[in-house]
Symmetry: C2
């Protein structure tokens, strides 16, 4: 499967519509039987499950930021599932608990915080990491909220850019703050938060407590101006959080950072962290001291029972695969973005050589991309003069692309812009020829519309 | 590793204190190097990681409810990590999305809901499933909370028993309801919620909206009286949720059910579900319609893009291992508790044969245990007359037990009861002789105190 995943001649996916898969394809039934299946049948099922899935490690899979299939990371995940343990206490996860400490400390130092200060935890995905971050900020300023709830504290407002990830709004909805109290700050044409607008938004009303800045936005890959935003936060006494990737100056001024190794670092899903500047805050915010897990009279240092820092009780071991990859490829991760430099090269090449010179494509924003995202419209014949039909071009091309199955790329509208493609480069298996292939495919499929 | 895990002569753990592991044992260093390690070193690291970990599949590991190492489940987890995809959309997880639907539908029918009604989602652990449940109940009664926050709705109260899992309080803290608004209903001496007290608690004040009932409490393994509680909920117009395991009559009257296959069904961690009676509620409560993932103009039925039902954005694939195990051992899971029947047998045997007849043990509550938990005090010589030193017996025995490493069991105090052992049976590898071994070990270690 893995070698097939990496082979260009194999399809990225063998697409079928939901009703086709549900009806059962060539004997592959998803239904649960009344009698146990034998081992042979189970093996066939496993083969079919992979056959009808999507090869996210394929060099021509451009659909998501989390791509690639790192063998060391995969080995780490296999060992983790064999160990089948849980992150709540040192007593049942001594090695993994200490590994988490080691890796988080390293991440702190990369951010620019003193290694020994700071805290953090691995979370089930970046949205949960962001939720932790908002939760901690609220608790830091208004600790009464934990016991008394939102009714005991003033109405809060938090700030994020129009191009930021939807997890900030989701966090506000879940935490009882309300999504309308997320103040959306406008972006410039490159997708960066307009810092001056942040300033005036903060002055507008409610009790501001949290600003989210993004280093690499989801669609454009834009980097917010961290130092400018940090200045504004300091002026207003707000907590600053940075999400996704670490690149720009000023990151060390954030009070919390969401860093997802399962994105640009190519670690198998799930691997996401929330890093917190103030030691102890995670524990104070979330601890409930359940006595059946966190007995204070244990024989070892119970500060290693990190389970009371988390929202979850049981917590999956996500650290080992990252630890193992880090040991194996220190060059790739220690400077954080060798991998990123690599994809930058591909991106620049592809951007210069293809999109800029070809009149059948139009870039969504001018100038060299800052990160691994290239956003563009294909100019499909005839239809492009009408807004509505132009909006249909990308979905129609994508439909044909998926039905044929040789490559995959995502599209979306954004603000006043009709559907455009977003090409993300984060898979080390991707080479120049794969980008050329993608561009040619889009052209070919567009012509057929 | 797996066959060693199952061998009685091998240790459950090779315990070391945090400072010992951090200093590096026999060359096993947790620190991240400045230069990449070679493959040979990585393999040694993998071996050492397993060596110093805890064998949670060992027949003499009684420390947690999630134990055992199911080979089919493990194979499922390995395939899942090889596929390395994400549950947010059908386009990148067609097979797994449909499997989730199939498995959830089956779980609905076991609960007693019509298969086609109902909804649900796999969550990163039971605490997150319970958090979903509280979140959904709040949204169902006060949909304005999603956009306007808690300040737009009345002060809420929720109800749970004194012996219930701490995740209910944690949910209240995280969601902005406040942990003090969790009204704790007293239990009888067997750990069951006293339903009449629930009735009077509800009448006491605030706006009641949610009752949690437990089928198999964490420590005693008690089953709350679901039908009685459902009657009270109906009378007051409240939402009823059931967590953990499904056994008792009345479960079908719950509006949501948390069911953790990674507990009594022996599925590798993590595998937990929240099941919801009202179709559409999950989506309405959590959707934010991010356009880069959930484009409405896709070519397939976008109701299969289930990612907007979840709090998370990216979501780990937890369904496959359960699906595969279900296919392989339908006998074990279709009637839900063949496994449970099995452990009930062991429990009864062990309880009758050992604890009841031996004067060196005392059961924490009288009568036959209802579920897989047996709670008892060891009567260590001399000290038992003093409350304080009696409280120290279990921790001291556990310390010696861990240092020797041949078996593991948890302890805790509960309400006015000093530290007692909780023996949980959920590992199919456990046999009668393992229970005898545990009891003898506790006696031996207690005598040495």
């Amino acid at each position: 499967y893995i070698s097939k995943s990496l082979k260009r001649s194999s399809k990225v996916l063998d697409f079928h519509y939901p009703h086709q898969l549900k009806e059962g394809l060539e004997g592959f039934s998803l239904e649960l039987p009344d009698q146990p299946d034998n081992l042979e049948q189970l093996l066939v099922d496993c083969r079919d499950t992979l056959k009808y899935g999507v090869k996210t490690g394929h060099p021509r899979f451009f659909n998501q930021l989390s791509t690639g299939l790192d063998i060391i990371g995969l080995a780490g995940e296999w060992l983790t599932s064999t160990a089948n343990t849980n992150m709540f206490t040192y007593e049942i996860s001594p090695v993994f608990i200490l590994m988490e400490e080691v890796v988080l400390r390293k991440m702190h130092s990369i951010i620019g915080w003193p290694e020994e200060d700071g805290d953090g935890i691995f979370c089930p995905g970046g949205t949960m990491s962001n939720l932790y971050s908002v939760l901690l900020a609220r608790f830091h300023l208004f600790p009464a909220v934990k016991t008394h709830g939102m009714s005991a504290i003033p109405r809060l407002a938090l700030f994020t850019s129009a191009h930021s990830h939807y997890s900030i709004k989701k966090s506000a909805a879940v935490l009882g703050i309300g999504s309308e109290n997320v103040i959306v700050v406008r972006c410039d044409e490159r997708g960066k938060m307009i810092s001056s607008e942040l300033n005036s938004s903060i002055e507008a009303g409610l009790v501001p407590f949290y600003v989210n800045a993004t280093a690499g936005t989801t669609v454009y890959g834009a980097f917010d101006a961290l130092n400018e935003i940090a200045d504004i936060c300091e002026h207003h006494g707000l907590l600053l959080s940075n999400k996704h990737r670490v690149k720009l100056q000023g990151i060390e001024r954030a009070h919390s950072v969401t860093w997802n190794p399962h994105k640009m670092m190519g670690v198998p899903l799930q691997c996401s962290t929330i890093l917190v500047k103030r030691k102890g805050l995670l524990q104070e915010c979330n601890q409930l001291c359940a006595e059946y897990l966190f007995q204070p009279d244990k024989h070892y240092d119970v500060s290693y029972d990190t389970g009371d820092k988390s929202i979850q009780c049981g917590r999956h071991v996500d650290v080992f695969k990252l630890w193992l990859m880090w040991k194996a490829k220190v060059w790739q991760t220690i400077s954080l973005f060798k991998l990123n430099v690599f994809s930058t090269t591909i991106r620049n090449v592809s951007w210069k050589m293809t999109l800029k010179r070809r009149t059948d494509f139009q870039l969504v924003f001018k100038g060299k991309p800052e990160h691994s995202n290239v956003c563009f419209w294909p100019r499909a014949r005839q239809r492009t003069s009408h807004g509505k039909s132009r909006n249909e071009v990308a979905p129609k091309i994508k439909t044909k692309m998926m039905e044929e199955g040789f490559t995959m790329i995502g599209y979306q509208p954004l603000e006043d812009k009709v559907n455009f493609f977003r090409c993300v480069f984060s898979n080390p298996a991707t080479q120049r020829e794969d980008v050329d292939f993608l561009i040619d495919e889009i052209t070919r499929l567009g012509c057929e519309l």
